[in-house]
């Protein structure tokens, strides 16, 4: 309690280039009636050892690659938790409100 929680897009020099959540605003105009834009965030940064917020598969995969199997797909910094977004969609009857799941990245991990 009382500690600041890290915000998307904040610049923390200690964090460096480690896989983490960054703020990203995109246009929804080609996809939906509204809103025009949404902050959906993105996950960016390195997934080399020591990996943050990872799992057993990614640890074993990273160890395998560091043993010389450089042709394998390396662990990638991706969203592992999302939030829904309420949007205005359109069908043959007109506009309607719709809750779209997994639109806003909320947490990142190495997978």
């Amino acid at each position: 309690v009382g500690q600041r929680t890290p915000r998307a897009g904040s610049t923390n020099p200690a964090r460096g280039n480690v896989c983490s959540l960054r703020s990203l605003t995109v246009s929804l105009e080609k996809h939906l009636m509204g809103p025009n834009t949404a902050v959906i965030n993105n996950c960016r940064g390195s997934c080399a050892f020591p990996m943050l917020n990872t799992n057993n598969h990614a640890v074993l995969l990273n160890s395998h690659i560091e043993s010389g199997n450089v042709e394998e797909r390396a662990p990638c910094c991706v969203p592992v938790a999302y939030e829904a977004l309420e949007v205005v969609d359109l069908n043959e009857h007109g506009t309607y409100l719709s809750i779209k799941p997994d639109v806003v990245a909320r947490e990142c991990g190495c997978r």
Binding site: M33, G34, P35, N36, E86, L90, H93, G94, T95, L97
Partner: protein, 99 residues
């Protein structure tokens, strides 16, 4: 307390009831005026077919969240619809059509 935003209110009877309900609860409606509980944005959605434009919804905003303009200037969407969003009282009753 701050004065609440007032928007023109009109729902297309063909729209689904869930949507109507959500917009109804966005603020008290008396006649064709809605007083917004949680937004200072008014919206207008319109459907275009066979060259005719009909109102789909006029109300307090629920999903747009952002409304930088004082007047309701139309923005086309998908060739079949038009929207506008604005931030002054009853602004969604006086549409500025852009082509």
């Amino acid at each position: 307390s701050l004065k609440k935003r007032q928007c023109v209110y009109h729902v297309n009877s063909k729209a689904n009831t869930e949507q109507n309900h959500k917009y109804t609860t966005a603020g008290n409606v008396s006649g064709s005026v809605q007083e917004c509980e949680n937004t200072y944005c008014c919206v207008g959605y319109f459907l275009v077919s066979d060259g005719r434009t009909v109102v789909d919804l006029l109300a307090c905003d629920v999903a747009e969240k952002s409304c930088p303009d004082a007047t309701c200037r139309t923005q086309p969407r998908f060739n079949s619809s038009v929207k506008c969003v604005c931030n002054t009282d009853l602004c969604n009753g006086n549409i500025t059509w852009t082509h």
